[in-house]
């Protein structure tokens, strides 16, 4: 028979789990979609975010302004999280979709920037740009129009 675990052993095990959860906590940060503060759009639905980043909506609602879509570095965790969890497409299918999209003359691909700060800076300087970053990188130079995970409706 195995001896029963002591309270001290249980506490040790729980603290290990807590530390592990703390370690992975950055991947649980909210992902937000941002635009320039001058942009009249204040909110985008999940459906609109999907159609914009999949290239099916080429101008922003209400503004008739052509959209410049920005991507995180394709090797980044945020890029993978954004497309796999929010847009709901795996990266292999995304690559196929984009090949079909570009070579059928539908439009151009999103501009790939290196990190959160460069996307925030680009959006702050360009009225027509839209991008996504971790919420912890948001400041008053950009406007948040979509938050993931979405808050439940009141």
């Amino acid at each position: 028979m195995h001896p029963k675990p002591t309270i001290r052993q249980c506490a040790f095990l729980l603290s290990i789990i807590a530390l592990a959860l703390l370690h992975v906590s950055p991947s649980w940060a909210d992902v937000v979609v941002i635009v320039n503060p001058e942009n009249p759009v204040n909110h985008l639905s999940l459906h609109e975010v999907k159609t914009i980043f999949m290239g099916r909506l080429r101008q922003l609602p209400e503004t008739n302004q052509i959209i410049e879509v920005l991507d995180q570095a394709h090797t980044s965790l945020t890029f993978k999280t954004f497309y796999m969890d929010i847009i709901d497409i795996n990266l292999s299918k995304l690559a196929r979709y984009r090949a079909s999209y570009v070579f059928s003359g539908q439009g151009t691909l999103p501009t790939e920037l290196t990190d959160h700060q460069s996307i925030r800076q680009h959006v702050a300087q360009h009225n027509e740009s839209i991008g996504y970053i971790d919420s912890q990188y948001v400041n008053d130079t950009v406007k948040v129009v979509f938050i993931w995970p979405e808050s439940p409706s009141p």
């Binding site: 459906h47 159609t51 099916r56 909506l57 080429r58 101008q59 922003l60 609602p61 008739n64 302004q65 052509i66 394709h74 796999m84 709901d88 497409i89 795996n90 990266l91 292999s92 299918k93 690559a95 196929r96 979709y97 090949a99 079909s100 570009v102 070579f103 059928s104 003359g105 539908q106 439009g107 151009t108």
Partner: protein, 416 residues
């Protein structure tokens, strides 16, 4: 290097007009920042038979048939106006271009009038199928090629038209609706056929909801078709018109003049992150008079993604029937000039009936394959397609048509 349009001869006047417009727009705004993208497929293939040419495959491995290179230039001229040009070089094609000769597949101006409305003008892809727009880009598809029972190689010369389209998109809550209307003309030659389609027009509707996509299209095309071999056959009949005027009628029926073709296309796609089902059904109707075909065809493909490997399987069919007028006229002539009266006429009628019969075909094919995504922009595919009947590929006497055969392909697809 000279570029040819996919059509006979030099670059068409409308294409020149588009180039002129682009030139004027650049002279007004000389800040040139063109996006350059490319794609390539390098493949090898063979069949189990040497007498049934399948995109130039034979019973020896060939590198030419599935090898394609493409380059695309794209530029946003203003907030609402852009242009796109795509040049493709195929190792083998059914149109009249030589091997690897660059052809201009796309050249158009696009004008985004509103967030949900876009106009395009220039050389565009004929929207015959679900995958018409990206047909040359192997990387964009799970399979090596869509089933040829539906994506008929003989339709390849009709894959581009010159004209315009308008697309209107509408957000219907959970549904996205897109309607496209197009119109234009085309002129192509391949083998000994000369096709003049003017006008061609139609509409395509797409409804998308979550993982589902449904596409339905109707296309109308007024078509003139002539063929040297059919013309010669008709002329041979006309030599006997001094006996009966029905042979003049037979002569005239060996060409298609101002014949309206109606084409209906239904495509359905269900696509999750692991499973995918794609199906298309097409119907072509063109009446019974003259050298015309009536056909229907379809396929269903199933694929399952396991990380970077995606095996797939599919089944397809094609049924084609030549308009009945030619056969009826020959049979009618046999009642007026009985068999045995003129031996040369008997031989001619037997040859003609055998040729007409060769267009009345029915075939199935079965496809098995797998795609391996080596890198985010490179994929390797292996595919085996078995045909129960070679009728689609060869116009040969009956004793050769019902033989089955299998095609093998290994393709490396990439985009850059």
């Amino acid at each position: 290097m000279t570029f040819r349009s996919a059509e006979q001869g030099a670059v068409m006047p409308k294409t020149g007009f588009i180039l002129l417009i682009i030139g004027i727009l650049y002279s007004l705004n000389p800040a040139i920042a063109v996006d350059l993208n490319g794609f390539a497929s390098i493949g090898a293939g063979r069949t189990t038979r040497s007498d049934a040419k399948f995109i130039e495959y034979s019973d020896n491995w060939t590198l030419r048939s599935d090898t394609t290179f493409g380059v695309q230039l794209q530029d946003q001229l203003t907030d609402t106006c852009s242009w796109t040009a795509q040049v493709v070089s195929n190792g083998f094609s059914f149109n009249d271009t030589n091997d690897y000769e660059p052809s201009l597949d796309w050249l158009f101006l696009s004008y985004q009038h509103a967030p949900n409305m876009r106009f395009r003008l220039g050389r565009l892809r004929t929207p015959l199928f679900l995958f018409s727009d990206s047909l040359a880009v192997g990387y964009a598809h799970t399979f090596v090629r869509p089933p040829i029972s539906v994506y008929l190689p003989v339709l390849e010369p009709l894959s581009n038209y010159e004209g315009g389209d308008i697309s209107v998109a509408q957000d219907l809550g959970d549904y996205d609706l897109e309607l496209s209307f197009f119109g234009g003309s085309m002129h192509h030659t391949f083998n000994d056929f000369d096709l003049n389609v003017n006008p061609i027009f139609g509409f395509i509707s797409r409804i998308r909801r979550a993982n589902y996509l449904m596409r339905y299209g109707i296309i109308f095309a007024r078509t003139d078709v002539s063929s040297r071999s059919f013309t010669q056959l008709g002329n041979a009949f006309s030599q006997f018109s001094f006996i009966d005027p029905i042979f003049d009628e037979l002569n005239e029926s060996h060409a298609t003049n101002n014949q309206w073709f109606r084409y209906y296309a239904l495509g359905i796609q269900w696509d999750t992150n692991t499973w995918s089902v794609i199906s298309e059904f097409n119907v072509t109707q063109s009446g019974e008079n003259g050298f015309v075909n009536n056909s229907h065809n379809g396929y269903i493909m199933l694929s399952r993604q396991f990380d970077s490997i995606t095996p797939y399987a599919g089944i397809s069919y094609n049924k084609n029937r030549l308009g009945s007028e030619l056969t009826n006229l020959v049979l009618e002539s046999q009642s007026r000039v009985p068999i045995g009266a003129i031996p040369q006429l008997d031989t001619l009628r037997a040859t003609a009936l055998d040729l007409y019969q060769s267009f009345n075909t029915s075939s199935y094919s079965f496809t098995l394959g797998s795609r391996y995504d080596i890198r985010p922009n490179i994929a390797l595919k292996l595919e085996v397609e078995h045909f129960d009947n070679s009728a689609l590929l060869i116009r040969a006497p009956t004793q050769y048509r019902d033989k089955s055969f299998t095609a093998f392909a290994v393709i490396l697809d990439m985009v850059f």
